[in-house]
């Protein structure tokens, strides 16, 4: 999966918890929490959406790496290389 595909996938997962997401104003290396005022339930729903789209397990300890657009694309790219989805 290319970085661009991953980026779209992350944005889709995010849009499932932030329907009013304005992609153009999202800063790629700033945390979603700070920009979008999402709470812990929203964040969990977002992580679950990623998990369901990619079928990879995501340990709770890795959550911080998913908290920005750039961070999530990089993290998921690494995870997919190591353990290709079935």
């Amino acid at each position: 999966m290319t970085d661009e595909e991953l980026r779209k996938l992350v944005l889709n997962a995010l849009a499932s918890v932030v329907p009013e997401l304005e992609e153009a104003t999202l800063v790629a290396d700033k945390s979603f929490r700070d920009q979008l005022d999402i709470d812990s339930v929203d964040f969990l729903n977002y992580v679950i959406a990623l998990h369901e789209a990619l079928k990879i397990d995501i340990p709770e300890a890795d959550d911080p790496q998913l908290s920005t657009l750039n961070g999530a694309v990089a993290y998921l790219g690494r995870r997919l290389k190591k353990a290709p989805s079935p």
Binding site: V17, V18, E20, E22, I48
Partner: protein, 380 residues
Amino acid sequence: MPSLGADMEAGTLVEWLKKPGERVVRGDIIAVVETQKGAIEIEVFEPGTIETFLAEPGQKLAVGTVMALIRGEGERAAAAVVTPVLPAREPALPGAPARAKAAPLVLPLPPAGAVHASPAARRRATELDVDLAKLRGSGPGGAITLADVEGSAIAGTAGPREAMREVIGAAMARSKREIPHYYLGDTIDLEPALQWLEAENLKRPVPERMLYSVLLLKAVALALHGFPEFNGFWIDDGFRPSARVHLGVAVSLRQGGLIAPAIHDADRLALPELMAALRDLVRRARSGGLRSSELSDPTITVTSLGEQGTESLFPVIYPPQVAIVGFGMVVERPWVVAGAVVPRRLVSSSLAADHRVSDGHRGARFLSAVGRLLQEPHTL
């Protein structure tokens, strides 16, 4: 038109999701209604066949207005007498008295397959008289955003924030005017619960992970079993306790304001079920899709400030409820355990309750019971 809150006066029918002639059962979503709280899905109360619709999309209807006729099982067609379904200005009570058989409805959120738009965009569109179906969404997944709506209309004044602020203001003014509040506060050692939860989450796949807030909710729901005077409604100068625990959960909305829909029978849900219900409720509060019963029947509310709040809070009761439990932000502080000062993660709890129904002594015992339950998280 059902009342979805103490101060709702009217709602606008957005669309019918069923057709005349269709059979419906209790819980079916029959229509979407736009209120100051956003678009809400209206549920059917009693089974039957839809006889006719008496309202058209776009119409603004006062609470109590009959919107549709549903012919009950075995009833003859065209029942002539129509009774308003819900008492105006009061939420439906759980187990409300049987309604006239020509049973009207309740309401909902943006249905799947319909126009995908945020609640803010939807509200704005109604205000500006913009047809969402004619807009092209610029958001992810083609969702219509607030900017799309505003961009498509020329001008427009009173925004959705003002509308929701009005609703909250009216409910809270009534609360402070009519309810003699008393307040209690406590501090709960959350360390045992958090450690238990962290260990538990290591064993769980992502979709089954749990958040500590679900432990707080369950502790409140269970504690109510011993304290029925905090669970129910103050209606017509009297307290009506509820045998069921429908826990209102305050959800802060990003576009401004907040909403506190109910998780039904929260005391009877296992933690994983309660977590799933909470995730679902928050998701629908964000995207539109709350149901009429969820807005009209919370028997008590819980408000939790989460990670970006303050240490303590003093909540205001949402009428006609008679109590609200608040939790502050979890903080790490020095704490004395078995004679030694150790760092512990703590949370402050608070209770605002109605003096017409209970006193501080009982309130204190209730709040203590919540704290005690959280010391044994595996029993929740």
